[in-house]
Symmetry: C2
Subunit: 232 residues, 2 copies
Amino acid sequence: MGMKNKSAVVIFSGGLDSTTVLYYALNSGYNVHAISYEYGQKHIIEIQRAKKIIELNKNTQHIIVPISARLFTNSALTGHGIIPKDRHDINQEFIPVTYVPARNLIFLSIAAAYAESNDIHEIFIGINSQDYSGYPDCRNDFISSFETTVNLATKAGRSSNGISIKTPLADLNKKEIIQLGKDLHVPFHLTWSCYDPYTDSSDQQKPCNHCDSCLLRLKGFHDAGINESEIS
Amino acid sequence: MGMKNKSAVVIFSGGLDSTTVLYYALNSGYNVHAISYEYGQKHIIEIQRAKKIIELNKNTQHIIVPISARLFTNSALTGHGIIPKDRHDINQEFIPVTYVPARNLIFLSIAAAYAESNDIHEIFIGINSQDYSGYPDCRNDFISSFETTVNLATKAGRSSNGISIKTPLADLNKKEIIQLGKDLHVPFHLTWSCYDPYTDSSDQQKPCNHCDSCLLRLKGFHDAGINESEIS
């Protein structure tokens, strides 16, 4: 682990991908400012999980930013429509109903404001295009274009010391992300993926195991040869 | 006035520029959804003025979106530092301390989410580069880059019916904006420009008449040959 003389913002949902990115940044020697967003997501439990994961990393700052949920009135992920189940052959070209309009654009823009306010020049985000490129704002061409735009938008970018967007998972599939996470000692049992949790008889939130996000997670652990129930 | 079969989002602060843009869009026949942001600005009075202006335009929707003020901890405009006074020779190349990190990037990103959620494809913003190009996020190259990015970020943009950013004031100076506003019957007396208002003995908020924004406004009215006190 290197000297902690550099800082980074990590966009951190409490999910499998962004938690792996968090641990990647920590392991690379960054002082991490993790930023989580509350935007009316049905799976708000992910924020509780994000808090628990941060509790394991005492030197990490955690910023939770609310975003007005009324902006996102046509996404199944914010309660407007049914979350699809059992789509085992997810079409990479089709944009799913769980798409949230301009979500990563907003997440990155707010992260950039926070970064610039704190003289931080690197922003990590856990996008990965191989497994699930249906979301337009998870693709590499968007990230590349955003990086250009954010440097035109900011004082930092107009100087010689601009803002860089880091996507360490960009070329990994879910199996590879899980393998990387295992190497980095990611607490998988605390990460949350399910879009559509239910409450069981003991008042615990449980993953549905049938939404796109659950299916990708289950397949990823299967492909990586890891039994998730044995690692918690 | 044209048929109101098209809609637009207008980023609307209650200031001189964005109110002129609001009236421009209304006069061009758009159904307008005006979006105002509360981000911890010292001159929060501008939002009260925005509400009053919308009251004059009954068919206009007004959306007020809070943005966590703790994101912007190094701007004089959000109370961190002194607002400069009496800078009669504003240097166009120097970024002022009233710069708010990534503000227009966030404003446009949130407006894009709202637009896409409501099947709107045009977003108006009152940037103008001639009078005051010190803010990086008010320049044409930023807007052009953002337009590319937002269309990569969104479902709308990935389809054939993308999002367009309209900047009708881009090439106007303050005098010309005021002349346009006069033609459009903008209620100038309700618009608010001052960064650093004070409360007078009758508990009214008053403009300081010395900050950059006041000076540009005063000069604009002077150059346009309009006596502001006679038009309210």
